[in-house]
Symmetry: C2
Subunit: 206 residues, 2 copies
């Protein structure tokens, strides 16, 4: 209910009804069985009200299960490791619910559709802007010589947590998030091996 | 055609025919449209010959697109970074073909089926054994104070490469593999932040 959010209060109630109906039907019927028509019927609105907000079923599902146009903004914890630990916890909270693996699998299987892929890239850009903020702060603090590519850190953090939770079995979520934050922060600060780094064109010692 | 492989040569031709028919039909019809019956018909064999080898359609698809019971064994390159760079290239080769994202998405959407999840865990265990070898070598070399959990490194390497190639857009594969190997090796050698590490129970300085 942010005052900066576009749309009148009446529209916000429709927004919420669509997202809620989508979640209920995903739990009942799964991703493959979900249709825009069924969501509209369950929410008590017309399909056109959904298509004014989401170009595709997949975009609606992503917004209902992961996030919409607002993503959480990182607090400045004072260190890259603690900022990445916050990020790991936030991603785990976002994708960690039971059933989200199947939903993301369904979305992925539909990514060959260009409209779906474009929408997913839009959501990814929002996530990446959050990561860019974390990396820029670490550079300003002097922890990093230059900000690494946010797309690189995005793929590592999202991919690792997704694989752990939904592909290989979740195990100890807190311990995994701790290890991931320590390893990625440590590796960005002290990359092994003398390879050129993105962003500064120089080689870094291992 | 390893002499250690169980089965007579006649059986190996059937093995190969099943895998080839699966790949052809995946390219033609996609994962969702694939059936064991269609693969049997295309390979010119009975369905029973398939079910003697694979408990489910999903297991057959995984073997045809990713790997079967044999996975590539890592050469000892002399450093953790270079061993992980080999691993990144091997994973990229394994999952990087066009269409594999959709296949893996379909498999993931089917993971709520316990038989499918069990088979996927079996394939994951093979991959993890390869990673354990790399980590044990790095420990023997003195690069690491104790071998980290192979399951942790597995989720990070597989997840990051999968996310980059099939979710967020592939970009520069070689550069990504370089950065991933440097960051993960660097972070295992110099984890940030003084958290306890798995395997030795002590804290490491950042």
């Amino acid at each position: 209910m942010s005052p900066n959010r576009p749309g009148r209060p009446r529209d916000e109630r429709v927004d919420a009804a669509i997202l809620q109906a989508t979640r209920v039907l995903l739990a009942e019927a799964g991703y493959a069985g979900l249709t825009v028509a069924a969501v509209a019927a369950r929410a008590g609105i017309g399909k056109a009200a959904i298509y004014r907000r989401y170009a595709t079923k997949q975009e609606m599902v992503f917004a209902a299960t992961m996030h919409g146009a607002q993503v959480p903004q990182p607090p400045d914890t004072g260190s890259l490791r603690a900022d990445l630990r916050w990020l790991a916890a936030t991603i785990t909270g976002m994708i960690g619910a039971p059933g989200v693996g199947g939903v993301l699998g369904g979305l992925l299987a539909d990514m060959e559709d260009e409209a779906v892929a474009t929408a997913m890239r839009g959501f990814a850009a929002l996530e990446r802007a959050t990561i860019a903020l974390i990396l820029d702060r670490a550079t300003a603090r002097g922890e990093l010589p230059a900000a690494p590519d946010p797309a690189f850190v995005h793929a590592v953090m999202m991919g690792a947590i997704f694989a752990r939770l939904h592909v290989f079995g979740e195990g100890d979520r807190e311990g995994f998030a701790d290890d991931l934050a320590s390893t990625v922060a440590g590796g960005l600060i002290h990359p092994a091996g003398g390879l050129p780094r993105q962003g500064d064109g120089t080689a870094t010692p291992g």
